[in-house]
């Protein structure tokens, strides 16, 4: 266990390091942040002051080394645009993104698994067929379009829900969460649904496929033969066996929802991290871009770790040692 963990940590460290090099070089190639940021009427002295303040007058390898030096001490640099530590800006936005991602994943699991099970057990019922056809829509409709449609219908036409933004927040564990207030929940519904639509379809189809594969197997037949009730068969024998791929997919999707829910966050004016990275790229706010991508790498590493741990809980045959 400890050896496995240490190895994982080492891997993660290597990935993060490689990431910093790629991002540092990549961002440097895109363009000159000073040309983008400095106001039109700045004179040469002002420009030089900004270049020096950002440390852009030093060669790239020096900038990189001093960044690494800071990173070791937990300092990922200062945002050019906000003049605050990049990590702090990211962490400020994180609760908004986390609650949106959690709400979306919760919806996809709570809706996707039962529907998928039903469609897998009764593949020929008209309801199951309708659901499968509907899931194709969930897959294929672009999320920005669905988002705008949701806004048009539920906010503009019916005025049931707000068109965007995050509701009032309340503090929990030192962070600000909006799902703790009623108004906050109302703001959460549309973006979470928008984000969840694709995932619901994904989980549903996955669960259905797995169920169809397992139902004809011998041990299910044995369970039936010994007179076990249908619900017990589903719960004990079927669900546990189909969950491993589901957990893998949900874990990966969770990571990407946190990191790249840019479209939904932009359309719903949700003040999360996804919007932050796009704004930062547009303004070439290098420290923000680098810090953000590092946070995301760490996030993915942690999620994969958790997924592996869940595997062992679901299937006693899986061992953490290689």
């Amino acid at each position: 266990m400890i050896a496995w963990f240490a190895q994982r940590l080492l891997q993660a460290f290597a990935v993060v390091l490689a990431m910093t090099v790629i991002v540092f070089v990549g961002v440097n190639v895109i363009g000159d942040p000073v040309a983008v940021l400095v106001p039109p009427d700045a004179d040469q002295a002002e420009r030089l002051r900004v270049v020096a303040a950002f440390g852009l007058d030093r060669p790239l390898w020096q900038q990189y080394l001093s960044f690494l030096g800071g990173a070791v001490r937990g300092d990922l640099g200062r945002s050019f645009v906000f003049n605050e530590p990049a990590l702090r800006v990211i962490l400020q936005r994180m609760p908004a993104t986390l609650e949106l991602a959690l709400a979306a994943m919760l919806l996809s699991v709570v809706i996707g698994i039962p529907l998928g099970l039903y469609a897998g057990v009764r593949p020929n019922s008209p309801v199951a067929k309708t659901m499968m056809a509907g899931s194709i829509l969930g897959f294929s409709l672009p999320s920005f379009w669905v988002g705008l449609l949701l806004i048009m219908v539920f906010a503009v036409q019916l005025s049931w829900l707000p068109a965007g933004g995050r509701g009032p927040t309340r503090e929990l564990l030192g962070l600000q969460w909006s799902f703790l207030t009623l108004e906050g929940l109302r703001h959460l519904i549309l973006p979470a649904l928008n984000l969840a639509l694709f995932k619901i379809s994904l989980v549903m189809r996955l669960v259905r496929a797995e169920t169809r594969e397992i139902i004809p197997q011998d041990y299910i037949r044995t369970a039936r033969a010994k007179g076990l009730g249908e619900s017990a068969i589903l719960r004990v024998h079927l669900l546990k066996n189909i969950l491993i791929p589901v957990v893998t997919i949900v874990g990966l999707e969770f990571g990407s929802v946190i990191a790249f829910s840019v479209v939904t966050e932009t359309i719903f004016a949700w003040p999360g991290m996804g919007k932050l990275i796009i704004d930062s790229i547009n303004l070439l706010d290098r420290p923000m871009i680098v810090a953000y991508l590092m946070v995301i790498v760490v996030l993915f590493v942690v999620i994969n770790l958790v997924v592996d741990l869940i595997y062992t809980a679901l299937d006693p045959r899986v061992r953490l040692e290689n």
């Binding site: 895109i30 106001p39 700045a42 900004v50 400020q92 965007g164 004016a269």
Partner: protein, 525 residues
């Protein structure tokens, strides 16, 4: 006077007094498209940041929505000599924390504003002319500019005044947390959620007219579709920069009203005037030309009149821009009445090309950003077709702004599409930054992307910028605008309109300078 009459009078006074006193308890919710980055009013010089700062902080000199100057914290300003301005300050003004405002706060501000640590480009430009600030008495200030600085009042209209007692120890983070966000302005800062919103409450002790709103929320919704949805759904009361394509529909919608005004931002084409010119300007065979054709006045004139500006404004911009041959809207200080919109004449353009020695034209690439100005890439494509029609075979290359600005700064473009705002609302700002020969050490021609150079024009610009008398300076500026129209150093296309959408029942005075302020909004009577 009988006792009963006195009582009656007192009662009337009291009730009318009361009738006025209870504030209309209306909150105002604004959504803007730009991203504000800081509450520190001197951290970053960008329109969204100005919009936020102008609620909390006042300026020495204020500007009406049409950018004409009006008294702010200063009641008057007069040149004492060619190089010294005297400002008389407004008496009885207090900071949000109750302390009195004095000339010393202004002196402190002008020193702080240019030295904000880590600022990505702040307010140094507006204060370049300020050499020394002398506090004569608590309500009188003299600013020595070293050399004539006729635009000083216009420039100071950009610099929000902070107090010495709070500001001296305050960092940008203290402003963001609200600790140092103490101004003299019409609204007090309450809180901000970075990347989302700022909240204000009315400052009842403000010196200006009583505000209609007791609370103001300024949200940022960067996606224009989402912004329109928010105002249609009634989530917000005012939005800025609605998408060009939605304007007609919004004008017809009974739930909202649209307010527009001609802005101060011109879209123009810069032509490469170096020798040798850009590699993307070639002969019809793709080989380099012996001489940069863009250096020939006739070629530049041909390229200018080949463009159907009315068509661009009408179709591409869908009536949200107005054709121009200069860069300021009619009626602004230093607008040249003598300079008309260049008439579209493809035949004359062909004749001019022939006279210049290019009967079959040449090849050129028109560069354009695709994420910077409304319909920027579409405009460039239309221009390319118009140029191709007169024989100048034009290819279009679009780039994201972050890459475009960098390459444009290196003179890599033969022709490029740019926008330029004249925040000072006078012609000199563009003249000195865009048309003067590139001379960074003097702060001239810093944004002369084509590196056009014309000593006559330079002399006119320098002379105008050193003339204190407003009337005389306007004449000189108009003269320079006329030279520019004759020599075609840049090809102005159109001036963008600014638009706002409000819920019915709310009126906003559209501002030429693109800012969105609760101060300009009121309830419809």
């Amino acid at each position: 006077m009988s006792a009963s009459l006195k009582i009656w009078l007192a009662a009337t006074l009291l009730t009318t007094g009361l009738g006025l006193a209870p504030a209309q308890a209306a909150p105002l919710r604004i959504a803007i498209g730009g991203a504000f980055t800081s509450i520190d009013p001197h951290f970053y010089n960008a329109t969204p940041n100005h919009s936020v700062a102008m609620h909390v902080f006042d300026r020495l000199v204020d500007r009406a929505p049409d950018v004409s100057l009006k008294p702010g914290l200063a009641l008057s300003w007069t040149p004492v000599s060619d190089t010294v301005w005297e400002f008389k300050l407004r008496p009885g003004v207090t900071w949000h924390d109750g302390k009195p405002f004095t000339a010393d706060d202004v002196a402190f501000t002008y020193q702080r504003a240019r030295n904000v640590p880590n600022s990505p480009g702040g307010f140094g430009g507006f204060l370049r002319a300020v050499k020394t600030v002398e506090v004569v008495d608590p309500l009188t200030l003299r600013i020595d500019t070293g050399e004539p600085a006729p635009n000083l009042p216009r420039e100071l209209a950009f610099v929000p005044i902070v107090s010495r007692h709070v500001g001296e120890t305050a960092t940008t983070e203290d402003y963001n947390s609200g600790k140092a966000a103490i101004g003299t302005g019409p609204y007090k800062f309450v809180s901000q959620t970075p990347g989302d919103r700022v909240e204000f409450v009315r400052n009842d002790a403000w010196w200006g007219p009583k505000q209609d709103w007791d609370k103001v929320t300024l949200r940022m919704i960067t996606n224009s579709g989402a912004r329109v949805a928010a105002v249609l759904a009634g989530d917000v009361d005012i939005i800025d920069t609605p998408p060009v394509g939605d304007l007609e529909k919004l004008k017809a919608d009974p739930r909202v009203a649209v307010a527009t005004t001609e802005g101060l931002r011109v879209i123009y084409l810069a032509l490469n005037s170096l020798e040798p010119g850009a590699a993307t300007v070639t002969g019809n065979d793709g080989k380099p030309l012996p001489k940069n054709p863009l250096l020939d006045l006739k070629v530049r004139q041909a390229l200018s009149i080949a463009i159907n500006r009315e068509g661009l404004a009408d179709r591409i911009m869908q009536k949200t821009a107005r054709p121009t041959g200069q860069w300021l809207p009619a009626g602004t200080y230093s607008y040249a009445k003598s300079v008309a919109v260049p008439a579209n004449d493809p035949n004359k353009a062909k004749a001019l090309l022939k006279e210049a020695g290019f009967p079959d034209g040449f090849k050129i690439t028109l560069f354009t950003p695709n994420d910077r100005y409304p319909n920027d890439a579409a405009t460039a494509q239309a221009v390319a077709q118009m140029w191709t029609r007169i024989g100048v075979k034009t290819a279009v290359e679009t780039l994201p702004w972050s890459a475009y600005a960098t390459r444009g700064g290196k003179q890599e473009f033969g022709a490029g599409l740019w926008g330029w705002g004249s925040p000072t609302g006078e012609a000199g700002y563009l003249l000195s930054n865009v048309l003067a020969s590139n001379n960074p050490s003097k702060g001239l021609g810093v944004f002369n992307y084509g590196r056009y150079a014309n000593p006559t024009l330079d002399a006119q610009i320098v002379q105008a910028l050193a003339t204190i008398d407003d009337g005389k300076r306007e004449q000189l500026l108009v003269g320079a605008v006329e030279t520019a129209a004759r020599e075609v150093p840049i090809i102005p296309l159109f001036i963008l309109d600014n638009a706002w959408v409000t819920r019915k029942g709310i009126v906003i005075d559209p501002r030429r300078d693109e800012r969105t302020l609760a101060l300009d909004a009121r309830q419809a009577k």
